[in-house]
Symmetry: C2
Subunit: 246 residues, 2 copies
DNA sequence: ATGGACCGTTGATCCACGTCAACCACGAAA
DNA sequence: TTTCGTGGTTGACGTGGATCAACGGTCCAT
């Protein structure tokens, strides 16, 4: 009976060094001894049910979050009710970085499915990253990567057509699922057509039509949220038309 | 004769504590004693002539830059020649943060006029921000602010119409000029219509037409790159239509 | 199993913005 | 001065994606 106790304790322990997401998450690139020192960083885990907010725009900023399980969207709401989805986040990715600048969150983070996050008190992160060099560098890289990613989205929104946008989105999802050990060619989207549309600057009808068109052309097989990519090369070709400018 | 020497030396000295941009730049919010310690941070200044690159996509990342005088645009070039301007930067703002993540720059930074930047070796910044707490916090805030700004642009590109975008752009410029001690209502744009269009996800003709429309409506007076804002409230009203949704 | 809410698909029509083209204003160089 | 090149404006026209509308599928809760 008692033999089960240590196992239970171990599985409940919150520790980066025990986590199978190290290679995707904040500890990526850090030495083992450095990662050991992170174990004090994650104060607690927090479960968020589907459709619930992890935080809302305006909430005071105290912590950033690493996704331990599940997935999220972040969005900003305009005064007139328009919504702009600014990103989709998967396991190992960080949430809440936007809050540092004003010490209040500037967007909403909403779980797309029942999820769990590691809560990283920002004050503790600052403190620890002063002594653990690898943590300092990795944290900066995580923020910088977010900036680069946002520039990619701006490019997509500013200069690509609807089908290019969706192709880029699918390839991005495929790549991220692959990095997490899932199939590059077959995956389940957790977000609705409307959320995809908002992210891509399109209406849901346009997203739906583009999905259908890709299916007609044999590029993918769609069944609701389940996607199978049949022709990766074809999708990539959509984004980079072969003949540049005359 | 020799009396002029110390003055010359002082004016050449590269020092945040002597700089009149402290309130806009990295040292913002830091104590005087902390700022004094920054003086070793800025290794050198660098002058960039109009249309020249400060760095290019792919360049190895070694430093970030604080704009001391002048202004820049950052852009990414797609393989087929399309350009997406990802931002315009003014004095006191930082350039190069995108390079941390991959240790190579991911966009181009091009001077819109003859400009000068302070070169901040990234290794030195890391080192110093481990001991100067205020620097660590401020640097994180600068990165976070960039993320928030990018989300704003994504919102603009993803869910606003042409005239809303241009109004938002003008109000943003006005606010930034104001913060630098210039008139909120009258300023000189350093970028072309095409660059504005690229930034806003519009063609230059659309930008031009929107300028003309605003002028016809008495919101602004345009003379080439010289802008006078005549009705700020009217511009703001354009972004937030008074009647939300029925 | 049944009703209902939500989500997705598809068609018909519309319009905001892109495209194409002509022309004009300004500054630099000759 | 004239010329040239770049940048800006404006008009006519075309189109990609939005809008409006109807319907079908799926997943719940009862």
């Amino acid at each position: 009976m008692k033999a089960t106790v240590p196992i239970t304790v171990a599985s409940l322990k919150v520790a980066c060094s025990q986590c199978n997401l190290v290679e995707l998450c904040l500890p990526f690139g850090m030495s083992e001894s450095e990662i050991d020192r992170l174990d004090e960083l994650v104060g607690a885990r927090r479960k968020i049910k589907r459709q619930q907010h992890l935080y809302r725009a305006g909430d005071p900023f105290e912590a950033i979050y690493a996704i331990r399980a599940g997935s999220f969207k972040t969005d900003v709401l305009l005064e007139d009710g328009r919504e702009q989805v600014t990103g989709f986040q998967m396991t190992g990715e960080m949430l809440g970085l936007d809050g540092i600048s004003t010490e209040a969150h500037s967007c909403n983070a909403i779980a797309l499915e029942d999820s769990e996050v590691c809560v990283i008190a920002y004050s503790k992160l600052e403190e620890l990253s002063r002594v653990v060099e690898g943590l300092q560098l990795q944290f900066h890289k995580v923020m910088s990567r977010e900036i680069v990613r946002d520039h990619g989205v701006m490019t997509l929104l500013g200069s690509m057509r609807a089908e290019e946008r969706l192709a880029a989105f699918l390839l991005n999802m495929s790549q991220r699922f692959t990095a997490r050990g899932f199939s590059p060619a077959e995956f389940h989207l957790r977000m609705t057509r409307e959320e995809i549309g908002s992210y891509l600057g399109l209406k849901l009808e346009t997203v739906s039509r583009a999905f259908s068109k890709f299916q007609d052309e044999g590029l993918i097989a769609v069944q609701q949220k389940h996607i199978r990519i049949l022709d990766i090369v074809g999708l990539k070709r959509l984004i980079q038309p072969p003949s540049p400018r005359p």
